[in-house]
Amino acid sequence: MWKWFHRLASPPHLYRTAAAFAPWFAFAAALLIGYGLVDGLVFAPPDYQQGDAFRIIYVHAPSAWLSLFGYTTMAVAGAIALIWRIKVGYAVAAAAAPVGASFTLSALVTGSLWGRPMWGTYWAWDPRLTSELILLFLYFGVISLRKAFEDPNRGDRASALLGIVGFVNVPIVHFSVYWWNSLHQGGTVMRLGKPEMPGSMLWPLLAMLAGFMCFFGAVLCVRVRGEILSRERQSTWVREVVSA
């Protein structure tokens, strides 16, 4: 396990591993998202209360899930890099940030389009909505802090630290609907015991969640490769790979 971990920490090895994984993730993502969209939008029955508006869940929930998963990936990679001085950790953190930020935006926009017909408002300063907005600003902070330093190493360290400190917001986003009186409903899938949804609605949702995860994996692989190339451009192995 440790050996595997250490090998992955070597830039050329991670560069090749990412290249090997990317097409599989992409393939699985295309399959799962394709199935999820068709089954969710066409075949799943409308909800007894929300009618067809509930179908927004098929893009909203996976986006929201990735917004937290992306942040966690970024914070963990940054922590590994800071503590064990494993430099590829910074590359992974830098690669995850814009992807996670984009899905946070997607969660906010799709949620607002769901809120308007169902709640009666596009936006409310509700604990869940507000903490998700803070998440977006944290992403922006981490991304811009990395670019704010002349010395890229200091930028990496500073943004990793901000990412780790900002991680306290992740459980707040997740549990906000249970800790406070909130306009937003509680979780449907991620709960102990049975999800509160019949299979005909649940299967496409699970497929979309898995598909978005695979999509994140594929995009992260491509971005990590780019990060490693630019960061290691003075090393001989990169020059051999590129000129070959």
Binding site: P45, P46, D47, Y48, Q49, Q50, G51, A53, F54, I57, A79, L82, I83, W84, R85, P117, M118, W119, G120, T121, A124, W125, D126, P127, L161, I164, V165, F167, V168, I172, Y178, W179, W180, N181, S182, L183, Q185, G186, G187, T188, R191, E196, M197, P198, S200, M201
Partner: protein
């Protein structure tokens, strides 16, 4: 202590410190973060005075009254323990119906009637096709009852 272990503790320490201060802030401002008050809190006089606030609860069955040709609607919000009558003039969200969890924004009048200027509907985390909901209802299970509002 190796430098690596030291960095680990520094990072964990910062994270613990920030979490603790956030937790304290959250506990101190628990009510201010919450989006609404429930009828029980209003009955105990815990609602904010002299300012608008939100009140959330279930629309009591059979309590919705409308006069034809009038946009004003009267209904009663309940959290099963206490009730607050609400008066609202305007367009209601699609999900507004009896038994549904809703959140009203406005202020408490001197006669104990909550005068709302905005009504939002809260939907629960249960999803089901209409046919299943209908058969559940027929079999006596209370499908339409929204998840009870949190205690507050």
């Amino acid at each position: 202590m190796t430098p690596r272990r030291k960095r680990l503790w520094v990072v964990l320490g910062i994270l613990a410190g920030v979490s603790a201060s956030v937790a304290l802030a959250v506990v101190a401002g628990r009510q201010d973060i919450s989006f609404y008050y429930v009828p029980t809190q209003v009955a105990l006089g815990k609602e904010p005075r002299d300012k608008d606030f939100r009140i959330g609860g279930l629309v009591m069955k059979g309590s919705v009254q409308r006069k034809p040709g009038d946009m004003t609607v009267h209904f009663v919000l309940t959290d099963y323990a206490h009730q607050v009558p609400v008066q609202y003039t305007g367009v209601l969200p699609d999900l507004f119906r009896e038994g549904q969890g809703i959140i009203a924004h406005g202020q408490l009048g001197p006669n104990g009637v909550f005068i709302a200027d905005e009504v939002l509907a809260k939907h629960d985390s249960k999803y089901m096709p209409p046919e299943i909901a209908a058969s559940l209802k027929k079999n006596g299970a209370n499908a339409a009852a929204a998840a009870p509002m949190p205690k507050g």
